[in-house]
């Protein structure tokens, strides 16, 4: 069975945790015990029942009514498991939002239709980041329809704003719009009687339909194995690695990058047993004809395959802290958990995540996007993000200080 991952996006207080909380309850995916705990705590702090408390478990989150860090919960629906990823909506918590949103395939953005809330700057940033991460489809859940008397016109107005925005940032994947009231469970699992003008699916059905259509895509055919370590096993040295794409067969010729040398597969161990072949997504242990050029961080390609770059490339970034020209080798990218120092970073332009506008710039300000060129200090195999996501995405750090994320163009 595939994992159906759904990321919730959107501004704080627009109802992400409430959507998940009430979906968990209406689908029977939480025990009554956990619901009554949330009920008890709501009463204790003098609030009406808050379904979001099923997700927001920290005392601070409940008392202050916000999500501090990302969390996940499984919802069982239509005999499938959907893993919902909740993320914080605050600007200062964008780093936690990214940590959650980096693993989703299909996203639901929750936008409050309540007066004074609407389609905000922060919600736009969330959509922008998720689209950089490779989100394949987007469901726009327009929430709090109860505050606007379930008015179709007002709902459509928000939809039009979102459509215009998605055009501005060049998001061309499938999009669906669903009106809901999360707090009162209107149109979450069952079609709502309060919105007879809405002819589409209720939220959970729409998610199910979207995931089965656009969820997991097959991995590309070119062989790529990330080497985690080379260790002694008995008298033989073996390489531990994860097959990112393609499939590996005994005897296959491999090119070791960045060393460039050729070798062949002598033995494949999968889950501890010796096998003849291994598919994408598995962790293998390999005996090779010549392992001397293989090290942690090496990527093993099929003999005919080549990396896109080993040291200089262009990338789209989203900055959490300001990014500008760097030449000192002080900052580094973190890719597949390897720190590779940056010899040269040049900013080409900056892109506004609020309206997609681009301008020439030498600095990318915090919470903004842009295009940079990077030159690495040592060789590291890099791919186009679209061709092999695992080798085409990275984080940028200054020591332990997180500066932002990037995807290779």
């Amino acid at each position: 069975m595939i994992v159906n991952r759904v990321t919730l996006l959107g501004q704080k207080d627009h109802g992400k945790s409430t959507v998940i909380g009430n979906l968990l309850i209406s689908t029977g995916s939480v025990t009554p015990e956990r619901v009554s705990e949330a009920r008890k705590i709501s009463a204790q702090i003098g609030k009406p029942f808050e379904p979001a408390f099923i997700m927001d478990s920290f005392s601070e989150e409940r008392e202050q009514g916000l999500t501090i860090d990302t969390t996940r919960a499984d919802i069982v629906y239509n005999s499938k498991i959907f893993e919902f990823i909740d993320v914080p909506g605050h600007l200062e918590l964008l780093k936690n939002m990214m940590s959650g949103a980096s693993s989703g395939d299909v996203a639901v953005v929750v936008i409050s239709a309540k007066r004074g809330e609407g389609f905000t700057v922060q919600t736009r940033r969330h959509i922008f980041i998720a689209s950089m991460f490779g989100m394949r489809a987007l469901i726009v859940a327009v929430n709090k329809l109860d505050y606007i008397n379930y008015d179709e016109q007002k709902f459509c107005k928000i939809c039009d704003m979102v459509k215009a925005y998605l055009k501005e940032i060049g998001f061309e994947r499938p999009v669906e719009f669903v009106p809901i009231s999360a707090y009162s469970s209107e149109n979450l699992v069952k079609a709502s009687k309060k919105m007879p003008w809405y002819g589409g699916l209720p939220l959970m059905k729409a998610i199910d339909m979207f995931i089965s259509k656009y969820g997991e895509v097959p991995k590309g055919s070119g062989l790529r194995i990330l080497v985690q370590s080379v260790t002694e096993s008995g008298n033989e040295k073996v390489a531990f690695g994860m097959i990112y794409s393609g499939s590996l067969k005994l005897g296959e010729k491999l090119r070791i990058q960045p060393a460039g040398a050729l070798t062949a597969v002598k033995k494949i161990y999968l889950k501890g047993a010796s096998v003849k072949a291994a598919p994408a997504g598995t962790n293998v242990a390999l005996e090779l004809a010549d392992i001397s050029k293989v090290a942690r961080g090496s990527v093993l390609y099929g003999a005919e395959e080549k990396p896109y770059s080993m040291g200089r490339f262009e990338a789209k970034v989203f900055a959490i802290k300001s990014l500008h020209r760097e030449t000192k080798g002080r900052i580094h990218i973190k890719i597949n958990n390897n720190d590779v120092p940056i010899k040269l970073l040049n900013v080409l332009n900056s892109i506004s995540p609020v309206n997609g506008s681009e301008e020439k710039a030498s600095t990318i300000r915090p919470n903004n996007s842009g295009i940079i060129t990077l030159e690495l200090k040592s060789k590291y195999p890099i791919e186009n993000f679209a061709r092999c996501a695992e080798l085409g995405r990275f984080a940028i750090y200054d020591g332990n200080d997180f500066l932002g994320i990037g995807t290779v163009r």
Partner: protein
């Protein structure tokens, strides 16, 4: 509850365990002798071609069930574990928060300092508790074991926290994605040896194991792994409902974890 794809869960766990072993020179794993940490060790054996490549720590408060001690002895021998028993002091007057907090965590601190471990594999799962659902796969702890949960590091894809400037350690959570039912299905498919306390005796069994002082058995006739799985498929109680430290008072788990509890 429905089961997830066991193959995928296992692959991710293998990746995490191998990554942790490679990134941290001095790593150990906690083993409570419960189903989760035993399953994690079974996965580690597969990842490292039959041998668990790091020491295994059991925090022994001397009041575990006799069945557990026999299980510990047998499996440590069978799997050729490098077992470290961390004796924890038990004071009769303490229970729940003070017991788990003061005794277990203190014993662990002592062992971590003595062996200078900089990483510790802990087999917690997201579905066990709302607080545990907030965890990263690699989660830093300070020198005095505190968890700065309000300011966790970014964790993008497989870019895990693998370096520390402090004298603390990193908690590694390889089975964070697993649910209770997945553990049992894995045990069934892989014949993982399991602590006999999970099986029903005189109409009672344990669903989650702590020590004799704060673990309560539940009514059950499940005497085999198959029967346990059947039981879980229809249950509507929480896995840890027999565990005192989860309820005693609101936020006990949060306090325990921020102070260094597992």
């Amino acid at each position: 509850m429905m089961e997830q794809d066991l193959d995928k869960l296992e692959e991710k766990s293998i990746f995490i365990i191998r990554e942790a072993k490679e990134k941290f020179g001095n790593i150990a794993a906690l083993w409570s002798m419960g189903k989760d940490s035993t399953t994690m060790l079974a996965i580690a054996r597969k990842a490292f071609l039959g041998k668990i490549p790091f020491p295994v720590i059991h925090i022994d408060n001397g009041i575990d069930f006799p069945e557990s001690y026999k299980f510990r002895y047998d499996l440590a021998k069978k799997w050729n574990m490098d077992l470290i028993v961390a004796k924890s002091e038990i004071r009769q007057e303490l229970s729940g928060f003070s017991c788990c907090g003061a005794n277990k965590t203190t014993a662990l601190k002592k062992i971590m300092a003595e062996y200078k471990f900089n990483a510790l594999i802990v087999s917690i799962r997201r579905d066990e508790h709302g607080i545990r659902a907030k965890e990263r796969y690699f989660s830093p702890r300070t020198k005095d074991f505190t968890w700065d949960y309000k300011n966790q590091p970014a964790e993008l894809w497989n870019n895990y926290t693998s370096k520390l400037d402090t004298k603390g350690h990193v908690r590694i959570h390889p089975i964070l994605d697993w649910n209770e039912i997945d553990i049992w299905n894995y045990i069934r498919e892989n014949d993982v040896p399991i602590n006999p306390l999970y099986y029903s005796k005189n109409g009672l069994r344990y669903r989650s194991l702590g020590c004799t002082h704060c673990t309560v058995a539940l009514k059950s006739n499940a005497k085999t792994v198959d029967q346990i799985i059947k039981e879980l498929e229809v249950t509507d109680t929480e896995e840890r409902s027999g565990r005192q430290q989860d309820k005693e008072k609101e936020y006990v788990m949060e306090k325990l974890r921020s102070l260094g509890y597992m």
